[in-house]
Amino acid sequence: MGEHIVKSFDEQLVEIRAKISEMGGLAEELLSDSLKAVQERNTEIAESVIKRDKRLDALEMEVEELTTRVIALRQPMALDLRLVIAALKISATIERIGDLAKNIARRALHLSKTRTNSVTGSIVRMGRQVLGLLTEVLDAWGRRDVEAAVAVWRRDQEVDEAYNSLFREVITYMMEDAKMISIGSQLLFIAKNLERIGDHTTQVAEMIYYVEEGTPLGDDRPKGEPSGLELD
């Protein structure tokens, strides 16, 4: 795509892209840190995640303001317009991802009082999986790489499956030991949050596709039946 005759317009678009990437990077950090917090039962890390989420909210506000301004002052058309709209939605999504990571961190705080257990492992594994997706989708955004985005969009299915098995695991685990119930419930929510994050990454993927191709990516995404309802 060539440059605009008016460079400052390019600059603003670049700034938007950059802010989105920044948000993405931060979200990745938060997620991986929150996972570490869960794994190592580490309260400081958890605390820091919770604090840093503020920054993410601030960034979202900035992007929103920036996009509004670009629309008001530049009357973007076609490609540019799609980019701006997408930025608006992606920023909201990433902000959500941040919230979810924060929420995981919170729950990590409480887990910290307990000692680790078998489930933790599989949770972290699922977490890594989600984190991987997130990283990929953000790279795709940076590289404006539609294929990569679509790939991520398809692979979210795996996350759903992982979630289901994890769900079953946690339930049985709680049944085995009634004292584990409250902890288990925390773990359940953590798993749920990770599943949500997976969903959100797909939304980002869809947006990338929309920006570059100009048409929405069909709604026929392969979904694993979510939130494990298939027992007894």
Partner: protein, 269 residues
């Protein structure tokens, strides 16, 4: 074929139908050496607003002026290819430009009311074509045209004062009324708002939007925003070639051609 038959033929038209009104095939226009329009094919929809956009000198006006043969008044201008209005070639020898122009009205960049009264301005067309007989009929025609042009309320008390005394925006609407008065089927507008301020412009755009119900409207404009606002279809011209033509929203949100994209997003040269 005799002239009369010819014209009965032209008048055969699916009234009120929403289909193609004007068809151009392989139209080329040359001014002496300059090749202003190159092989333009286009189908203009009936009762819709079609806008022509493009950098200046790309041939928008030239092509527009082919559609009512205004180019005939420029000696060095040569038009080839065929342009069909309701399926009849308007460049056929049997077609009389005078009648054609009554059926294909035109509004110009600069408001150009005649230095006559508002009334006489509007009555001019119907009178020369003998569409009205007698005072009463003329009055009715004038009022109808002025109402359609949304000017009646503003001028009904000053019908017999000179049309040149109106404000720029009113003058332009008067010109539209004048064009409407001969009951044309098509209205051509060449940058009708470029001499007006935003408010007057908005008025005209509103008017165009209403006229759409009864007329086929083609508007040349330099303002992409305006094209986007008023038209259902948009054609993008570049160096005399019609690069892209399609639904306006499509053109402005997701054009197919790179040049179109570059132009509307302001990435050129």
């Amino acid at each position: 074929m005799t002239v009369t038959m010819e014209h009965e033929a032209i008048n055969r038209q699916p009234a009120g139908s929403r289909d193609v009104k004007i068809t151009a095939r392989g139209v080329n226009v040359r001014y002496g050496e300059t090749h202003a329009i190159k092989d333009v094919d286009v189908d203009i929809l009936d009762r819709a607003v079609t806008s022509f956009i493009g950098p200046s000198g790309c041939g928008k006006s030239t092509f527009l002026r082919c559609l009512n043969r205004m180019n005939d008044t420029i000696p060095i201008c040569r038009v080839t290819g065929e342009i069909l209005l309701d399926g009849e070639d308007i460049y056929a020898r049997s077609v009389d430009p005078a009648l054609l122009r009554a059926r294909v009205g035109m509004v110009f960049q600069k408001p150009n009311p005649f230095p006559k009264s508002v009334y006489d301005n509007v009555a001019y067309g119907p009178r020369i074509h003998g569409l009205v007989a007698g005072r009463g009929e003329t009055d009715a025609t004038v009022e109808r045209a002025l109402r359609r042009a949304g000017l009646w309320e503003e001028v009904k008390d000053r019908l017999h004062q000179p049309g040149t005394g109106l404000s720029g925006g009113q003058q332009q609407r008067l010109c539209i009324a004048r064009a409407i008065a001969t009951e044309p089927e098509v209205l051509l507008m060449d940058e009708p708002c470029s001499a007006l301020d935003p408010i007057a412009t908005a008025r005209i755009e509103e008017l165009i939007d209403e006229l759409r119900e009864n007329y086929t409207i083609i508007i040349v404009t330099h303002s992409m925003q305006q094209a986007a606002r008023v038209s259902q279809r948009t054609a993008f011209f570049h160096l005399g070639v019609m690069v892209e033509y399609g639904e306006t929203p499509k053109i402005f949100t997701n054009p197919d051609d790179k040049r179109t994209q570059d132009y509307i997003t302001g990435r050129f040269g």
